[in-house]
Amino acid sequence: MFRATWKSLLARKVRLLLSGLAVVLGVMFVSGAFVLTDTLGRSFDAVFADGFSDIDVTVTAKPKVAVSEHEGEQVATPVPASLVEQVKQKVPAAADAKGVVNADGARLIGSNGKVVTSFGPPQLGENWLGESDLVQLREGTRAPRADDEIVVNAALAEAAKVKVGDRVGVLTLEPKKEFTLVGIFGYSGGRDSMGGVNEVAFTTPVAQRLMLGKPDTFSSITVTAADGVSPEKLRDDVARELGGSYEVKTGKQAAADQAASLKEGLSFFNKVLLGFAAVALLVGTFLILNTFSIIVAQRTRELALMRAIGASGRQIIGSVVLEAVVIGLIASVLGLAAGIGVGALLAYLFGKLAGGLTLAGLGVPPAAVIGAFAVGLVITVVAALLPALRASRIPPIAAMQDVATPDRPLTRVTVSGAIVTAIGAVLLFLGLDGHAGDNTLATILGGVLFAFIGVALLTPLISRPVVSLLGALFAWSVPGKLGRLNSGRNPRRTAITAAALMVGIALVTGVTVILDSAKGSISALAEDTIKAELVIAGAQSGPRPPSFDPTVLEKAAAIPGVQLVDGEYGDMATVNGTRTWVAASSNVAALERIFGGKATAGDISRLGPDQMLFSSDAAKSRKVSVGDRVTVQLSRGEARTYTVSGIYQSSQLTNPVVLPPQAARDFAIPQPIQGFVQLAPGARVADVQPQVETLLADSPEVSVADRDAFIKQQTSQLDTPLRMIQILLALAIVIAVLGIINTLALSVLERTRELGLLRAIGLRRAQTMRMITVEAVVISIFGALLGVVVGTGLGAAVVQALKDEGITDLVLPWGQMGVFLGLAAIIGVVAAVLPAVRAARINVLGAIAHD
């Protein structure tokens, strides 16, 4: 039996290779994700370990507000400078202690007048601590001595295209300041940066003022151990001396902690990649199922013969499953190899993008290997089980007869399809309607999966009328008509091939529907509510939003024709013990006059320095009413108590909490991130806009645009994730194309004699190719149509569920849908090329004389 299996595998290697390719691609994704995150993770470990290598112990204060990696850089609470002397004098184990200023938000203006942006790594502003084993000034440069001198790391100097002696502008907590660049430094081993971080080093007092906002404070204190003292001993001594209000860590601990917070972000990335791998594998499962079904159907006689000469049904199953195991194993090995390559490539690209992250050696974590084999084997074997079962039911008598396999009725598959679809719908409803609690995401994903499988099972039934209708488009020519008939010939085969394409297209369509609806809803709302003709804002590229000089606001208000100017500040704060986003407005009147805010309680038109406003939703969820006293801890400074003076109607665009402008001083970014300019009646945008533009000369991160351009720019931020998702899902579509090629190739093989007959009675080669192409195009358009319909359904369901979140308009991307259908036609044509060429090359005589 094993021998027979092996022989039959070898005989069909090309066919199996194609279906195996689907598994290879899925496995590649899985192992690639693990290799990538492992390599990057170890690279970050190395960077931090290196960065803390000459530090024995570091002392920091607990942050006022904890901020996760996704939300931006956390603001460290400054420690008083007196601590340095305290440690030096009171801790005998300490040989030396240094105060370190080191905070995110030092943005250098490059020689082109634009701010050097970062896609993730922080832009550190620090005090120059001198050279060390790690930090070295490049030749011909020197340390900053005067208050208007800075040094930068080599990577930043290169990115900004600045050189020693240049006057360069730097944005910090304060608006633009000019400095002379006196030095450029790098790191041991000739490195230009540590993990892509941009660094600007000032003299200590300047760094304290610009980066911490407070003189005589530091971000942290590093302590060097006296000879023979271990870092752990020193840590314990320092901690005992300083008491519980500080965090004292050894350099190793600090490095590990910082790396861990970054890796949290990486693990999220890993999950996203694995999600796409799951989609690819789902599509691959369809493909393998189909291939094995066709192969079993074609081998009916051979399998029946085996039964006739004494093989048991179990042995037949074993033989088919064994084939699947072999394919799964080969595909896993190839997929793993490809995954390692892809992981390495992505890590390299990531390193480049992050500004020259030095990559640790490529690693293949056990998870990658285990994942590759588990996924590859399980998927292949599971997909082959059903065809194996069918093979075992072939009666021995089939060997003797030329059994035309009767069309099995579709009742059973349709009923089970309806049940599975219903389960999917129920799961989706539960998940989207918020009945699933903590398992919401799992419930929704399960619902989508069930819906896909259910629809796939229903597809044979749907395929008859739809395929015949679609085919009618091509039935004007004889080859077209024949192709149409062929595509309707085996509903199960057509259905599962189309279903594979459906999955990818449905997901892309669904995501597009959701994001387009979100965009549409936000723009509609913004157009309705924002009554400002001009908006000052910038495009955000990294975790930090762009900001501008607050004095621009007053100057803009003085421009003739300007009626009202408002600057919006934002921060992550702790309000009555819970983390929440808070805003401050330079001109509270704008809430009513620009944003159409309506008071539901109290007064929202003015705000005293000790007063605050709540949105109606936030007030409700926190059980706050006018007159209550609320404690707010901002990123900087001490906690403060405010009195609630008003509550305004919530809308999608309102902030939950509004603080008086004075509070913005203690925000992580104490500068406005958006400005709104309302013009007086009769004033012209074209007159005012250039004047505001002039005011922004020293705030290169932002620009002024009219309201519509601003709305477009804000909503276009959704385009990037949309593109990313579309590109990743394209892989699922590629696998589906492989499926179409495979199905057609097998069909051509099956119909060799028929094709020979057609050629014998005068069908030209080109006509033969056209016939196959029509079949492919009909199948792929059918799949795309299913995908568009199912995707729109899924998207609409999600949009419906998000109604309360403010996605009120269902926007159907008709254009995109048309593109998908057109794309499907192209896919069909491309997929048909090889099978069609093969069909056209059939030797007429050989085909007829078959048998």
């Binding site: 035309a404 004889v478 008509k481 024949l482 008939l485 062929n486 309707g488 010939r489 004699r753 028929e754 007959l757 057609l758 050629r759 014998a760 009675i761 005068g762 069908l763 030209r764 080669r765 006509q767 007429v844 005589l845 007829i848 004389a849 078959h850």
Partner: protein
């Protein structure tokens, strides 16, 4: 020997010194060794011979399905030898009809669609009167909307005959058309072929190894070892059988 035929201009198909050689050297097999034959218009010719005599090869070469090693083949005034794929396709479409032993019809099409397929491929409309005649002759009028799977073997073969006839090709080549049928269905098909020759002047060349089938023809050509060895005009089943026996005899003697 060379088959003697009627007036030269009347030939619907002609083979001149046709050789077909497979392989080379030691493994060389001569399937046809210099066959020259003409098939007159409006006649029913049968090609007979034992297995391996080259009768099917001759037909394949005549029909342009197979290439010849040497010599020429022509159909009507078209020189088949040397035609490319496009030319051969056009020849098959416009001048030649086929009836095979089995697997003659497309399972996806109805009987009627199968019958009209060659004309549809060529983009021609059938002559309605002729179409009706053909349908009535094959007796399939009540089966036209059926698919092949719903027809008996004899009915399927009659559909195949109708398909070959309806386009009025210069020659119909039939390869063991009754090989898969019971004797009654076989007789029906053969009668029908003979009638189309007698009444409508169709030219038919049929390969068979069945003397009874050959007896329906106007003329029988006998092939052995790739060469024409005998010929009968106005054959009966008995004369055909006798000739076959004579052909087999020398082979037995040689043993």
């Amino acid at each position: 020997m060379t088959a003697t035929v009627g007036p030269q201009v009347q030939a619907a198909a002609r083979a001149s010194d046709v050789w077909k050689v497979y392989g080379s050297g030691e493994a060389q097999v001569v399937a046809l060794g210099g066959v020259t034959a003409e098939f007159e218009r409006g006649r029913f010719t049968a090609i007979m011979g034992p297995s391996g005599s080259g009768k099917s090869t001759l037909m394949h070469c005549l029909a342009g399905l197979d290439s010849v090693t040497r010599g020429t083949v022509s159909i009507g005034d078209t020189m088949v030898t040397g035609l490319g794929d496009a030319g051969l396709t056009r020849l098959r479409r416009d001048k030649v009809g086929f009836i095979f032993q089995q697997f003659n019809l497309l399972p996806t099409l109805t009987a009627q669609e199968n019958i009209l397929l060659p004309m549809s491929i060529a983009g021609r409309k059938p002559d309605p009167a002729w179409y009706d005649t053909v349908i009535d002759t094959v007796g399939l009028r009540d089966r036209l909307r059926h698919r092949p799977a719903q027809l008996s073997g004899g009915q399927q073969q009659r559909v195949a005959c109708a398909r070959a006839l309806v386009a009025r090709p210069d020659v119909i080549f039939a390869d063991e058309p009754t090989g898969n049928l019971d004797s009654r269905s076989g007789a029906e098909v053969l009668n029908f072929l003979r009638n189309s020759v007698r009444e409508h002047g169709q030219t038919i060349v049929m390969v068979t190894h069945d003397p009874t089938a050959a007896a329906y023809a106007d003329r029988v050509i006998f092939l052995a070892d790739g060469q024409i060895v005998s010929e009968l005009v106005e054959p009966t089943a008995d004369t055909v059988l006798d000739t076959m026996k004579k052909l087999d005899a020398p082979a037995e003697v040689a043993h």
